[in-house]
Symmetry: C2
Subunit: 273 residues, 2 copies
């Protein structure tokens, strides 16, 4: 955060963060989307992107053209400008995106949740995880994996109206990210599995994917109970769903249905990085 600008940066590595399930255009789209999601979650409106691209030699120009097309589609979707970047050779494709944009109000952080707050989540969860893990994923699940659709207007609206006490986007899975929010806010969070808004074509059996799978790019936030009516009105206004999935209390850690949370599905280095 600097000078009223929120900035976020993310790296996607071939074979780690994407594979043949994603076309070159999907990779370009998604690389922009993940940083857009994070900037919006801070209450800012994404307005520019820098792109760092490491590519193996010999250069696969068809891949690069399709990648660029996906970047352009993402920039058009959220009205952001590609303002620069760096292209280098390397043994594997690595894409880093840095997105920034102005904060219209004090930025949202992970650190403001208070005991008694409601825990909310936007949209639906789990479809990308099912798209990634399932042998025969539905078109909706694949679409969630390939073309994340973060609720970019929500963060700035929450910030402007002062409706959220803490917020973050869901990139690494609800369990992992909720633990981070709880820690940053120094509260305990209790979630209800039955309350989770499951993605299209998911069944109750997929609730674990929604808890641990990641790549949802929805907004997790906390709000005072007195904000419920205003939040429901905002959801209507923005044409998106907001669901209460739990509450905050004094203490530490995360519980789901009163039990310690299941372990996260994925960790880059077998630890908390």
């Amino acid at each position: 955060l600097h000078d009223g600008t929120a900035i976020s940066t993310d790296t996607l590595v071939a074979g780690v963060h994407f594979d043949e399930r994603l076309s070159a255009a999907d990779v370009g789209y998604k690389a922009v989307a993940v940083s857009v999601s994070d900037v919006a979650a801070m209450g800012a409106t994404p307005s520019w992107v820098l792109l760092n691209l490491t590519l193996p030699a010999p250069l696969d120009t068809a891949w690069v053209e399709q990648f660029a097309k996906g970047v352009g589609q993402a920039c058009a979707a959220w009205d952001i400008a590609l303002i620069g970047g760096d292209t280098t050779r390397g043994p594997v494709t690595v894409v880093s995106t840095t997105v920034g944009g102005p904060c219209a109000a004090s930025p949202l952080t992970r650190a403001g949740a208070q005991p008694g707050d409601d825990v909310w989540v936007s949209g639906t969860l789990g479809a990308a995880a099912v798209g990634y893990l399932s042998a025969a994923p539905s078109p909706e699940a694949l679409s969630a994996l390939r073309r994340p659709s973060p609720p970019v207007a929500l963060g700035p609206a929450l910030a402007l109206r002062g409706l959220a006490t803490a917020a973050m986007d869901l990139s690494d899975g609800l369990v992992t990210d909720a633990v981070r929010l709880a820690r940053a806010s120094a509260v305990a969070l209790d979630l209800q599995r039955a309350a989770l808004p499951l993605g299209p074509s998911l069944t109750p059996d997929d609730a674990t994917a929604a808890l641990t799978g990641g790549e949802d790019y929805q907004l997790l936030f906390t709000a005072r109970p007195g904000a419920r009516a205003a939040l429901e009105a905002l959801a209507q206004e923005l044409g998106l769903s907001l669901t209460r999935i739990g509450s905050a209390r004094a203490g530490a850690g995360l519980r789901v249905d009163g039990e310690p949370a299941p372990p996260a599905a994925f960790s880059h280095f077998g630890g908390d990085v």
Copy 2:
């Protein structure tokens, strides 16, 4: 460029941009330095950095600690703050840095050189290239390769005083970068080999390294001949050297001693990327 902020981003890949000649701390230092150099060349004062780090598993914690130490040394050297980043797993170490800072005046660009302008360069050239290419480089040459020392105060001073018509930092070698400046400004540039300020411990035989070698992180700029006295005063004030190495004229392309420029030493994909 956005909202009076200049931003630059660079990627360093293990085995491509650095090897065993650089310690982990050198890599951290240099990753920050190369983006700092570019921001300052736009006439801005670097003030923050984002760091994207891709690392192979298993994690080499000793390497990461030393890398972080080098990043910290660079941040201290130029008084900039590490404000965020992303750490991911991948088959090879990749470091992307994004540096930004405020412009105190209209930014310097590559596009303003006019026929009749002088061509100037700060500091000395070629030491890093000799440090990279020589079988037995001098300590000075190795230091230039490992710990680039861009003249960070120069770009902002040139911008504030309106002394430069165009500017860029020298990262890929004088020949490659001068061609870019000439093209962006739609002028021809004529350079004199004998005028090049060679780095410490270099001999006249090293002039080709100074022309084509890269990694100088000095400032290449153009200025009206009427600015000579003001530039010499600025050099004194900042305690650095500024050298006139040629001039701009109507036309296109780059000549050295009246001949077409020698080919650049290095290109990532065998072409202009």
